[in-house]
Symmetry: C2
Subunit: 350 residues, 2 copies
Amino acid sequence: MAAMSAGIIERYAAHLPVTAATPRVTLGEGSTPLVRSSRIGPSVGLEQLYFKYEGLNPSGSFKDRGMAVATAKALEAGAQTLLCASTGNTSASASAYAACCGLRAVVVVPAGGVATGKLAQALAYGATVVTVKSSFDAALKLVRQLADQPGVALVNSVNPFRIEGQKTGAFEIVEQLGRAPAQLFIPVGNGGNITAYWRGFGELVMTAGGSAPRMHGAQAEGAAPLVRGRPVTRPRTVASAIRIGNPASWAGAVAARDESGGTIEAVSDAEIMAAHRRLAREEGLLVEPASAAGVALLLRKAKARQVTDEGTVVCVLTGHGLKDPQALTRGLRIPRPVAPTLATLRRAIG
Amino acid sequence: MAAMSAGIIERYAAHLPVTAATPRVTLGEGSTPLVRSSRIGPSVGLEQLYFKYEGLNPSGSFKDRGMAVATAKALEAGAQTLLCASTGNTSASASAYAACCGLRAVVVVPAGGVATGKLAQALAYGATVVTVKSSFDAALKLVRQLADQPGVALVNSVNPFRIEGQKTGAFEIVEQLGRAPAQLFIPVGNGGNITAYWRGFGELVMTAGGSAPRMHGAQAEGAAPLVRGRPVTRPRTVASAIRIGNPASWAGAVAARDESGGTIEAVSDAEIMAAHRRLAREEGLLVEPASAAGVALLLRKAKARQVTDEGTVVCVLTGHGLKDPQALTRGLRIPRPVAPTLATLRRAIG
């Protein structure tokens, strides 16, 4: 009965391209917490900073929102296989939803371009994983050519149902705050999520009034096609989830920026990892590196006084830190075992 | 405004040992989904099987419920340090809550007895990690001797606020189903969680009527002191989160079993890993091995017709699969990279 049990299709059916005949596919996606910043916000003079912690979706990332809808529509259309190219999160999500629905998942990932935890996830869910010697962009181009095979549903963000499902993140933020935030910071890789949030805020503003936030997209410096205005052939960044050189939702991302009066800027890997560390150590929020990109951009803008304490600011944290164990342990030293004595512990407590 | 944004202290203050003066510490714990089984339940004739997916708590396990309350009470009492011994999940949780509150966390873990992901988590959150050459039970004995140090709050499950917070899992299940389930299956290590759920159901039944579920606890065969009726000196199991030989909440676990007319039984590591695999491949739910113990026990009882389709059955899935990458990838082979051609992909799709 409680809303916390229902998935996003059931909760938001009126706003989604579903009918009574569409299966209510759910793994419990959505209803993620909006956590008020306890230390980062106050440190830069922002008292109303919140984090939308999307890592608490079932497969550990925001992708589950769109995948629930895409999978339901694939089932409705009679598909037997979900197909995608992925930097990791999409493959994990597609594999999870395929598993619960008795579908096959075939995921195509670029060799060396995917965090280990995500690849392990797809395999654990029982997916067929094809690792190709190419970039993500080439892999996506390839799977698009196969999307018309009978029984196959392409569930990359070029699938319109993905964007539709992902816009529910914006719906929830408005419910949780009681209004839209003044500004939203979000990582930008393939451009689908910023497109989806902008659509979600737009639909609410049209029906319920109020104003939509300014949208700030953060790309990684080595993978910033939208900032440079042209595709990047060899995207490079520690943030594997946004290591994309030619975004599928290019136009949607630019429209979100321009229509909202926002920005899309590049942050360095050093800024990303600094924000990643601060989220863990000052907020108790473990995220994958890409998730920290939006926070890195906010911190830069707050220092430059381009963002001040005049309204609510929300940063979308797109994926859980446990997804990327390598990034998690970077620079950390596992301590050597010691004898179990009171004296040892007293020293540790200090 | 929406309930999904509030943490468990705010939502359940009337049922918890808190006052208006207790800080509303939260990382967005609780409000985890109750996911209806799509394939495992029907395969054994159970149409009303649900999974309470506690891996979707902020640090990835059910421990966050109790830690929110324990941390709030520690802050209220003026503590500067959270101290615990841990098989992993408690240390990750304590470290996360310490981080968001500006407290120190000192976690004592048994060498070799903790899943890598969890240790990495505690370090990433900035905790002081002390790895001792001893069992969990010896580590717990040690930290208990230090709990009276000024400014130190011991946050193991011997801390009564932990059990109080964890009972909110039972509250949510009742809200989500609209009633208590007929039977509950739950892994048992230190005995705190089965104690907490039983208390939670008991309090609701006393105030709102209805009946409480029969409680079924699952221990691992190599770490089954409650089944054997005596402590186990060298507990062994793949399920590190329940690798405990001398449960701190022994009496509470036995009371939950006996008062509810339930059982506590041992399942083998093979049964645990088989259930772990089925949860991922048939339900799309990735869990750590310990979480699968309750499902393993249910499957055995269903096959023996000791559990039949006469009421709702809930299995508590205590922690996320991403916590234990080693278990996740056991027996899986990362496929070798291939050339990105249409022919290759067509073969994969089959």
